[in-house]
């Protein structure tokens, strides 16, 4: 499991909240992908500072190995304003429909993790 766990942290850390944006129509994709499926143009990498609305959420009691010892924690699926969906850990307990911003935050032993905080 070591290699898998390490690569997760590294991937998220090196990418931060990296997404891709279409060179032609500017549609944004997260996770990053090489082409725009709307207009068939190529994409370029872009850093995100997403905000959006919580679509759904779950409180994880039995976590994946990499997150062992942190449970319970809440994970939210966010409908971002730019049209993509993103997963994030909730900074404080959230409800469906809450407005949030997502930032990449350094978490001990995990590297960078997307964290959602309520916009008040």
């Amino acid at each position: 499991m070591g290699a898998i766990a390490d690569s997760t942290a590294t991937d998220v850390a090196s990418g931060g909240l990296m997404a891709s944006r279409c060179e032609r129509c500017e549609k944004t994709y997260w996770y990053a992908r090489p082409i725009c499926s709307s207009c068939m143009a190529l994409t370029t990498r872009t850093a995100l500072q997403p905000s959006g609305t919580v679509y759904s959420l779950t409180t994880v009691h039995r976590p994946p190995a990499l997150f062992a010892g942190r449970a319970p924690y809440q994970v939210v699926l966010v409908d971002c304003d730019d049209g993509y969906r993103m997963l994030a850990m909730a900074e404080t307990p959230l409800s469906i429909g809450a407005r949030v911003s997502i930032r990449s935050r350094k978490v001990a032993d995990l590297g960078e993790v997307p964290v959602a905080a309520e916009i008040v």
């Binding site: 499991m1 290699a3 898998i4 766990a5 390490d6 690569s7 997760t8 991937d11 998220v12 990418g15 997260w30 996770y31 990053a32 679509y55 759904s56 959420l57 779950t58 409180t59 994880v60 009691h61 039995r62 976590p63 994946p64 190995a65 990499l66 997150f67 942190r70 924690y73 994970v75 939210v76 699926l77 993509y84 969906r85 993103m86 997963l87 994030a88 850990m89 469906i96 993790v113 997307p114």
Partner: protein, 386 residues
């Protein structure tokens, strides 16, 4: 739609259903393959088509169909190694029917087997996926267990949109268990109540342990024959439909609706049957929320009413829509991919060979697999007895 060939399912088998078979997936697959061929009254030499999927057992550079063909000592005119989660065996069934119709082969053996429990590469907390891949990293980045977490998010959203209750969700596990009590091969057979389910440990809210598929070993197989002999007990696949929409939850347009309506419409058109003609259903139930959504999307109840439909007892023994009569993935077994087990049970029901859990006058069964990040692949198969 062109009419289907007279090909039929002439042999089925299950085996290795256990929490500790102590074997490898390939051993379980080979054993169940032989059992299915024997059930068909055939010999291995009669088989010239083979389809094998691997779930958590899949290793880089694996060639699952060739691997099993060599062990079985058979020469192939057709093979398929499609991997699309729990729907894989369904897809392989549909593609095999096409190959048989074209005359490319005469008899196709479709096999699934996994020793994921014995080999310990799977738990409710998730299974290992290769590192270094940005898509897998995105799925994992916030600590969501895979694949369970996607169903937890789907269940929470279904509760939010439609008022589905924890008790209704739990009733799926209760329905499965009521059937499992009647099936000697099921791994969990102790009577189960809604209260029991809600008292089982929370894994990822709102899903409790008893609302999550078992993590077990197991294998199942079937044999398709282009021209069944007059002596064979034949179950025919009279309708089939498949639709594929996404691979991860980031590609899903909704977590409360699937494309099941499209595949079942195609299957019903091909079969020339209506929902009212269906005597029993086998619906993929890796997690309790999935059959609730499928009952809605397939058209058995209105959108949002799936939880109430199950809680009202329609799917239970004695109900008007028997569902997962072997006990389903929640009580029978779940060795990674459950699709083949849905098909085998439908065949046995249509043969009238299910003993204490036999559905009276079972003539037409609808099997539906919806898998991969809550409905990325939807496949419907309608089976009919003779």
């Amino acid at each position: 739609m062109t009419s289907l060939p007279p090909a039929g399912i002439v042999g089925v088998a299950e085996g290795g259903i256990s929490f500790a078979s102590g074997k490898r997936g390939l051993e379980l697959a080979a054993e169940v393959a032989v059992a299915a061929v024997q059930d068909a009254g055939l010999a291995l030499d009669d088989i010239d088509g083979l389809a094998v999927a691997k779930g958590g057992d899949l290793a880089p550079a694996d060639r699952p169909s060739l691997e099993l063909a060599e062990v079985l000592g058979i020469r192939l005119a057709y093979m398929d190694t499609t991997v699309a989660g729990g729907a894989s065996s369904f897809i392989q069934l549909g593609h095999a029917l096409t190959a048989l119709a074209l005359g490319r082969c005469a008899r196709v053996l479709i096999v699934y087997g996994s020793a994921q429990r014995t080999q310990q590469h799977r738990s409710l907390a998730g299974h290992a996926r290769p590192g270094g891949d940005p898509i897998a990293a995105a799925e994992r980045s916030a600590g969501l267990p895979q694949p369970l977490g996607v169903s937890a998010l789907a269940a929470a959203r279904h509760m939010f949109e439609f008022g589905t209750t924890a008790e209704q969700l739990a009733s799926v596990a209760v329905s499965d268990r009521a059937w499992a009590e009647l099936n000697p091969a099921a791994l969990r057979r102790k009577p189960l109540t809604v209260e029991d389910v809600l008292a089982s440990p929370m894994i990822a809210s709102p899903l409790h342990r008893d609302e999550c598929a078992l993590v077990s070993d197991g294998a199942a197989a079937l044999v398709l024959d282009a021209r069944p002999s007059a002596q064979a007990a034949v179950v025919r696949v009279i309708g089939y439909g498949e639709v594929h929409t996404h691979n991860t939850l980031f590609g899903a347009s909704s977590l409360t609706a699937t494309a099941a309506g499209q595949s079942v419409r195609d299957a019903m058109t091909e079969a020339g049957v209506k929902l009212a003609d269906i005597d029993l259903v086998g619906l993929y139930d890796a997690f309790a929320i999935l059959p609730i959504v499928l009952l809605e999307d397939l058209g058995f109840c209105r959108k949002g009413d799936g939880g109430r439909f199950v809680a009202d007892g329609h799917t239970m023994p004695g109900g008007d829509l028997p569902m997962n009569t072997q006990g389903g993935g929640l009580s029978h077994c779940h060795p990674g991919y459950y699709g083949m087990f849905l098909l085998v049970e439908a065949v046995r029901q249509l043969r009238g060979a299910c003993g204490g859990r036999q559905v009276p006058d079972a003539n037409i069964a609808l099997c539906h697999a919806s898998t991969t990040a809550f409905g990325g692949s939807n496949v419907s198969a309608i089976l009919a007895g003779e």
